[in-house]
Symmetry: C2
Subunit: 469 residues, 2 copies
């Protein structure tokens, strides 16, 4: 349901919802086939640090935890009420939550607006708003945060700790991102599936993320934006980068989005391009771009100017990269036009047949010393605004050694506030290097184009941050 602006009481409640000290699970069950049982069990299995309170009128104990017949019977107010009961029972549970002074309600139950029951959904939403009980959902997959070992819902993964606050309207795509987190070391600060977003909306999560100390970048997957004014106002207000992927561009997608999360896209797609541009939100086109850009923006400061230098041991990767920079509207400049001094200094780190253009090709024979020297020169040169390094493993390349050198250079140049991004294109040792680099907060990617997308996102956010000042 539409909001005009992010509501402060909601933003405040989200701190409790995403860092809860206590969670009441309504619909908890002793039957392992019931979702209420599974939600409690998952909370325990992931070692949630707060209190778990099963609510079930016909049980006194579930999974070894004391159970209460209703929310009203719990002796203290809870931070989060997780609701997994059939749709027709949700209203009365919400009434209990209000009576019990719960801070926030999360409704997993489906069968609301997305299946034609907008009336029921709106009735519950109005009640929540009247009583200032923020409601997340319904038709939602879950939410959590790796920092509290908090994973509440139907989610088989807990992400690794990191910097991306992930706000997703699709459960399936949230699960995809969470799976990617473990597998590809894509760290998150928190995650939430919005489902039908009957009450709490993007704007409020954006403002919460801005206040959350773990979040460095806000990632948004949207199928529909019901409250564009609130979205725009909150996005403009915050001081962290926002990347959004908005689906439902296609004609057939509009129909599918409605069936999925009851999103109405009466506006053509250009509306969203304009909205994001005004709001200072970077729009990702593909899912991979979305992951790649958010990772980089969560780890690195923005690029303050256009002087990006690429250092590679493989001409092929350099060519893929410089083509892609130009294709997406951010062509590389020649090194002589960025810094003639750097051009001379960097020659010391390449053989005579190396190429001091940009990309700087330090050649397939480059060792760790050459890489480290070239990286350091490029990072510390006062004319550069960011460095893109690339490893293409030849028979003599020390892939882990170069990755370690990159970590040293980034560590030593932290005070310069310049972004550094890596490409490691190759086999398992490159995948291992990517994981190692990401674990050290360096955005690293298996293809040149992914790294370029990341670097350009860092540049675009540099422009956005400047315009916000």
């Amino acid at each position: 349901m539409r909001i005009e602006r992010a509501r402060p009481y909601v933003v405040k409640a989200l701190h409790a919802a995403l860092n809860p000290r206590s969670i009441a699970v309504v619909g908890a069950s002793r039957n392992p086939n019931k979702v209420g049982y599974q939600v409690c069990k998952e909370l325990m299995d992931w070692h949630f640090k707060g209190e778990i309170i099963p609510v079930n009128p016909r049980a006194t104990e579930i999974l070894g935890l004391k159970a209460y017949p209703t929310l009203r019977d719990i002796p203290h107010p809870v931070d989060l009420v997780f609701v997994a009961v059939p749709a027709h029972l949700v209203k009365s549970i919400i009434e209990d939550a209000v009576a019990a002074k719960a801070t926030c309600a999360v409704v997993a139950t489906s069968n609301f607006k997305e299946t034609g029951r907008a009336d029921l959904q709106d009735e519950i939403t109005s009640y929540c708003r009247e009583h200032k009980l923020p409601l997340i959902g319904p038709n939602l997959v879950g939410l959590g945060s790796p920092y509290d070992s908090f994973n509440c819902g139907f989610i088989p993964y807990l992400p690794i700790p990191g910097h991306v606050g992930m706000i997703s309207q699709s459960g399936a795509n949230l699960l995809a991102a969470l799976g990617t987190s473990q597998k590809d070391h894509y760290g998150m600060s928190f995650f939430v599936g919005l489902g039908n977003k009957a009450d709490v909306d993007f704007a409020e999560f954006i403002e919460y993320a801005d206040e959350d100390p773990h979040t460095g970048c806000i990632g948004i997957y949207a199928e529909g934006i019901d409250s564009p004014e609130a979205f725009e106002a909150s996005a403009k207000k915050v001081h962290k980068p926002i990347v959004a992927i908005k689906v439902g561009r296609s004609k057939i997608g509009v129909k599918a989005a409605f069936a999925h999360t009851a999103s109405e896209n009466a506006d053509p797609d250009k509306f969203f391009d304009d909205l994001f541009a005004r709001a200072g939100v970077i729009r990702a086109t593909t899912w991979q771009e979305f992951l790649d850009m958010t990772l980089a923006l969560g780890m690195m400061p923005p690029a303050k100017g256009e002087n990006i230098v690429m250092i590679t041991n493989g001409g092929g990767a350099g060519l893929l990269a410089c083509d892609h920079f130009e294709r997406i509207g951010y062509p590389l400049k020649e090194l002589k036009d960025i810094s003639p001094e750097l051009r001379e200094k960097i020659r010391a780190y390449m053989p005579s047949f190396g190429s001091p253009l940009n990309p700087v090709d330090i050649s397939g024979t480059a060792d760790v010393v050459s890489y480290e020297g070239a990286f350091m020169q490029a990072m510390t040169d006062s004319h550069t605004d960011g460095v893109l390094g690339a490893i293409c493993p030849t028979a003599v390349t020390d892939v882990p050694g170069v990755a370690q050198a990159a970590v040293r250079v980034v560590e030593a140049t932290k005070g310069l506030n310049k972004p550094f991004v890596m490409i490691c294109q190759g086999g398992q040792e490159c995948q291992d290097a990517i994981m190692y680099l990401r674990d050290h907060d360096i955005p690293a990617y298996p293809t040149a184009e992914q790294a370029v997308n990341a670097m350009v996102a860092l540049r675009r956010y540099g422009e956005i941050a400047k315009s916000k000042k």
Copy 2:
């Protein structure tokens, strides 16, 4: 050096070069730091099935192998002469190779046209052409085939056996593809780095690949095409799909390409778009697209029409896919416009709240039976031209079970000659499913957009194959 048309004697010789019974390594050494030693050792370590013959004027035995002072001293003609000696010695080795009636010469040595020594390169090329000794290279990283455990050059990977014949002008990017092969189960039939392609050119490798029984798709990474007429004539002639990625679009890329492999790109990029369109070559934009498209075209028959049906358990993946289909000019049609019968039949495999649009959303609760039934109905319906399946792992999804069902369906419907492509978006179990599917010749991908690029490549090749008839 320019050719007018692919030369039959070269194409014939490539059969020997890529399936050699004997390899003479000139510049072989007993010093483990010398490249000639490493090339011999790698051949042995990968268990090359043919004969390895070191050539060194100052050794009678290297790595336990009998060595000969010169090529002329070897008692029988060899299939492949691998040359890894300094540039100024190459000419005399080539003369020896001609005298010894070698079938093909491969020159790894650099310092020719790419560093301004075009004269020397052209002199050697003219000599080779005069004596009908095909020369691959110079400035080349290596070549090989997993089917013969044949890995000759400076390449730390042997790809897994598969269907893509990989012809790369960049050594670094060839290495990236080879690393990907092991890590991501991207199978190849053969691989070759062309380096400066002084003599043997793309056209001849294309015609060889067409004759090679293991090759299902021809993948080309190009920085420059010196003989476009020959390229076009050969590409038009063959009956296997060709995917090319041509770099050096950008202004800065033109300079870098010359420094890298001495490629001259006087023509603007549109020249290549037109060339590829006329030649029936699918042009990939990014490296990932290149890998994804070639994988699919090597495994699956083309789509004969535009009636692609997508089956997913996650609405989010469906939306990403249908947006991407439309974005790249191949919008999905609604299921009712493809086959009203299929629309009715497929309802049996989804809950009441599932969505029989296209994408068909069989819902997050879908089990293996639902997936298998829906896949089978979609594949066997006489109105469909291809099926895109998607797994988004919810807490109840049996990811390996669905992958096995996909293999059964593809096996059972082989005779229909319809492509089937999978998306498995999520964590490690999805990565495992992707590997399992690829091992069973089903192209599978971690993101919706990659799978869509693959399916659209199968459709585009369907159009190309039709126009070639």
